[in-house]
């Protein structure tokens, strides 16, 4: 690991973007290091991540247009969790790693979905695995673990390898499922397994009218037993 000051940049390409970032965002750029020879890592203030990332994507001199990865790193021992953005510029053929550190008691950062559509699932995975809340994400659900998973966030260092519950409890929970674990409320409503909430209080606009009608019709005919939970 090499800590690099502003004056000595081993790689000109990576150095220019860091200098530009510092010139534009000042204190929001916390520090910069070079890893594994040529990988530039920039630590930024978590509260200004969207602003900085959007500039990195849209500035014509940099254009980091491909979001390769969003992930987290937990070093354990109560240290902050890092949110890692790995960027690549197809135009300029450069990569950059941007990191934001979040303390364990405030795992919240603004979502990058407004900048890259690719952030959607990557952020869901980071939320699922590390419990980082991406504020403004359109659909922040668990993605790899089941929706009803109650044992926490598996890639955190405080999570035991075999999970928190005993094997018997894990099996019992896996078998004791409800429809809500497999379908979203909107899906259940569409399938007629759940009456539309608005059917009781009709909304001012008839937006969901079709779905509501289908729900009523099927429900009147007797929904399957599984739905009565």
């Amino acid at each position: 690991m090499v800590d690099v000051s502003d004056t000595a940049m081993p790689s000109v390409e990576g150095g220019t973007v860091v200098a530009a970032l510092r010139a534009r965002f000042g204190d929001a750029i916390l520090h910069h290091e070079v890893q594994a020879g040529d990988e530039h890592v920039v630590f930024i203030l978590a509260s200004r991540n969207v602003e900085i990332l959007r500039w990195l994507k849209e500035d014509p001199d940099h254009r980091y247009d491909l979001l390769q990865d969003i992930t987290g790193v937990d070093y354990g021992g109560g240290r902050p969790i890092q949110v890692v953005y790995q960027l690549w510029s197809i135009t300029h053929r450069r990569s950059l790693r941007v990191k934001a550190e979040l303390p364990l008691d405030a795992l919240e950062i603004d979502s990058a979905t407004t900048i890259w559509a690719a952030a959607n699932w990557l952020e869901r995975e980071a939320y699922d695995m590390f419990g980082v809340h991406f504020v403004g994400h359109p659909d922040l659900r668990r993605i790899l673990m089941p929706d009803n998973y109650a044992e926490g966030h598996p890639l955190r260092k405080d999570f035991p390898l075999r999970g928190r519950f005993s094997r018997a409890e894990q099996t019992r929970r896996a078998l004791d499922f409800s429809l809500e674990d497999f379908y979203t409320p909107a899906d259940l409503e569409l399938a007629g397994l759940r009456p539309h909430a608005d059917a009781l209080n009709p909304p001012a606009e008839g937006k969901d009218a079709g779905a509501a009608a289908a729900g009523d019709g099927e429900a009147a005919d007797g929904a399957p037993d599984g739905a009565s939970r």
Binding site: M1, A36, Q68, I90, M129, D187, G210, A211, A213, A220
Partner: protein, 424 residues
């Protein structure tokens, strides 16, 4: 024998009476506008469905036969590889990597080893570089062949599957002779390979390379100008270049949309810049272009493999570094120093200095990134895999919206996903 009368339970449909005629009942509460787009229907595909290429589950909201909304559910194959990796030393992770993408296991083995070597600052030997290029290009063909066969089955052309699987079988044999396993190859080690190429292996590979393009030609005559194949694929699931980049598409899917981004060309590793090969580019970004791009990629891989075999240098395959590579068995038995290295490597594993590295290669499915973080111990703090299929699949809802239900199968097949890597 009397005639049996069957009564259809038409009353289950709320809009029909017992006689089957529509009944005029108010289906909407008073004051609510009817939804003129018609009733939507929800159908569930998977997780056990042959056309989902694994355990992918799609929930589709249909309007008639048109897809309004698609919600993929993944995680049915989740094995928590990244967590398991944190409890294993650097070399023990290699077997986990090939279980992710079991369609191109050698690429994953190599990519992982390359990431760790980059972090540790190890430069592998010239022979190892060429051998790994051979491994990766061979498995690109291996994976594309499976994609070709199963995609053809998905849209109704069965014959191609038999052709491609015969060829895959020959690659399986090459895998087996080199690594001892057909799928779970675990062939790389930090600093080199598990073993050098066996005697005569390169001749067999050369024979495969000389005969395999004929099969490809036959498949092309079956598909490329086939009216049904074109009808099922052309203009289906099209995506433009800008959206494709924004959605994180990589690999053949991105190149089919007209973006010439190939890690082998843009960020060359292992002297890829010295190989003479072309990167095929599509222009429409639809399923048909994705097919054409992959077909051409296989031919280009054959070109690279020929060049790699021509330049394959002699010499050691493993680096001469006792920190990472086990000494030869005879040395370990006769020489105290080697014995100590052997003991420490087996008991403690390779120790990587503190640091991190994000290394990506061009896998058969797209950009495969390996992110490794070390705190100086023999186990990683974090081992992250940026799976190309994972990101490619996240675009599926955008691609299928507005298409017919049957196109969902064609589009999903054309993305070339592997669930082992998506769910990890």
């Amino acid at each position: 024998m009397s005639t049996r009368t069957v009564e259809y339970a038409v009353s289950r449909n709320p809009e029909m009476g017992v006689d089957g005629r529509p009944v005029q009942v108010p289906t909407l509460p008073a004051g609510m506008e009817p939804d003129l787009r018609g009733e939507h229907m929800l159908i569930n595909i998977g997780p056990q469905h042959p056309a989902t290429h694994g355990v992918l589950r799609l929930i589709l909201e249909l309007d008639g036969e048109t897809v309004v909304r698609c919600t993929p559910h993944i995680g049915y194959l989740h094995s928590s590889f990244e967590k398991l990796g944190e409890y294993r030393d650097w070399n023990q992770i290699v077997p986990l990597t090939d279980r992710m993408d079991y369609l191109a296991p050698l690429i994953y083995n190599c990519a992982y080893a390359m990431a760790v070597e980059k972090m540790m600052g190890i430069e592998v030997t010239e022979r190892c570089k060429v051998v790994r290029v051979i491994c990766m290009e061979l498995d690109r063909i291996f994976s594309h062949l499976l994609w070709l066969g199963t995609t053809a089955i998905d849209v109704g052309a069965f014959t191609v599957f038999l052709y491609t699987f015969q060829e895959r079988e020959r690659i399986y044999t090459l895998h087996e002779k080199f690594t001892g396993a057909r799928i779970t190859t675990s062939s790389t080690r930090i600093g080199g390979m598990m073993a050098d190429l066996p005697e005569g292996w390169t001749d067999e590979l050369r024979h495969f390379l000389n005969t395999f393009p004929r099969t490809l030609d036959e498949v092309e005559t079956l598909l490329t100008k086939n009216n049904l194949w074109i009808g099922r694929n052309r203009d289906v699931g099209a995506i433009d270049a800008e959206t494709a980049i924004n959605c994180g598409f990589t690999g053949p899917n991105l190149r089919a949309a007209g973006v010439p981004y190939d890690v082998r060309k843009d960020r060359p590793y292992y002297d890829y810049e010295t190989y003479d090969f072309d990167v095929p580019i599509g222009e429409h970004g639809d399923c048909y272009d994705r097919y054409l791009v992959r077909m051409e990629e296989m031919r280009q891989s054959v070109r690279i493999l020929h060049q790699a075999l021509d330049r394959l240098p002699d010499g050691p395959i493993n680096v001469d570094d006792p920190r990472v590579i086990l000494p030869p068995k005879t040395d370990a038995m006769n020489d105290m120093e080697s014995m100590i290295h052997h003991f420490k490597l087996v008991m403690e594993g390779v120790k990587a200095p503190a640091g991190e590295s994000w290394f990506s290669v061009e896998s058969s499915k797209g950009e495969l990134g390996m992110y490794v973080v070390s705190d100086g111990g023999s186990k990683p703090v974090r081992w992250r895999v940026r799976g190309p299929s994972f990101v490619n699949l996240s675009v599926l809802p955008t691609l299928v919206e507005g298409h017919l239900l049957a196109d969902v199968i064609a589009i999903n097949a054309s993305l070339d996903i592997v669930l082992g890597e998506i769910d990890r």
